[in-house]
């Protein structure tokens, strides 16, 4: 039986790589993909801890997070498509009309 700590560390590393991707990449779609990866890492943490404590509440939490993530991706991609059509670029550094 693999101890729970290994799953937590793996989820933390995936979360860290996703955070690195959000900070380093400038393409709007890649940033969005890294956000989804971070959400998956949190799901993995929840499921690992649910098994650790023997309850099912963590798994139900993850199920509802998946539903919310699907809704969020639909809306977010709609926004990204509208934005790219308007500004003709996927580089988030060019979306700077409201900057000081």
């Amino acid at each position: 039986m693999v101890p729970t700590g290994y799953y937590l560390v793996l989820a933390a590393v995936i979360f860290g790589i996703g955070a690195l991707g959000v900070l380093v990449r400038r393409n709007a779609l890649i940033i969005f993909m890294c956000i989804e990866m971070m959400m998956n890492a949190v799901n993995l943490t929840l499921v690992a801890l649910a098994r650790h404590f023997g309850t099912l509440d963590g798994q139900v939490f993850v199920f509802l997070v998946m539903a919310i993530a699907a809704a969020e991706v639909a809306i977010g991609l709609g926004i990204v498509v509208g934005l790219v059509r308007h500004r003709d670029t996927t580089n988030v550094d060019r979306i700077n009309l409201l900057r000081w």
């Binding site: 993909m33 989804e36 809704a71």
Partner: protein
């Protein structure tokens, strides 16, 4: 034996996540993301969450990645090198430092976590048990999730709709 599977799936998930961040092609990133999602679904099976593993493949691998690839094809798969701006290379190192500090913290906490013997409840993670708890104890979040999905559907349709000029009356 379980260690072997865990190592294999964990390595696959890490390869997928690194590939998403480092890939110059957006479609390649989406496919690496798919690899990451499938590896996490396999890890769910190791964690006795069979229903969640299938839900992960259906929702994440089957719908979200497909949406991403649709949008990449729609917008155009430009392979411009869009990494962080050349004049601020310090940002890469600062973000790497933050990530390393975070992972070190989780490693420390995991060492402190007591390694209790995980008791196996029969039927844990099966469809029946999750269905039972979802319809009795978590009925309200379940219904609210359906309302949120409806709101998201309406929002996505409004975002994607073309605005037409209003039709004037014929007698004006």
């Amino acid at each position: 034996m379980e260690w072997l599977f865990f190592a294999l799936f964990a390595l696959t998930a890490l390869v997928g996540s690194v590939g998403v961040v480092l890939s110059k092609n957006a479609v390649h990133s989406a496919l690496f993301l798919l690899l990451n999602f499938v590896a996490i679904a396999l890890l769910y099976i190791l964690l006795q969450a069979q229903f969640l593993a299938m839900a992960q493949i259906l929702v994440y691998a089957g719908a979200i990645v497909v949406l991403f690839i649709f949008v990449v094809m729609l917008i155009g798969n430009d392979t411009i090198d869009d990494f962080v701006a050349r004049e601020r290379p310090i940002l890469r190192w600062i973000s790497l430092l933050l990530v390393v500090v975070f992972v070190a913290g989780v490693v420390y906490v995991s060492w402190v976590l007591p390694n209790q013997q995980i008791k196996g409840v029969p039927g844990y993670g099966s469809v029946e048990s999750i269905g039972h708890i979802l319809f009795t104890r978590y009925l309200l979040p379940f219904e609210l999730a359906s309302v949120i999905l409806l709101a998201a559907m309406i929002g996505a349709i409004i975002l994607a709709a073309k605005t037409k000029p209003p039709v004037g009356r014929p007698e004006d």
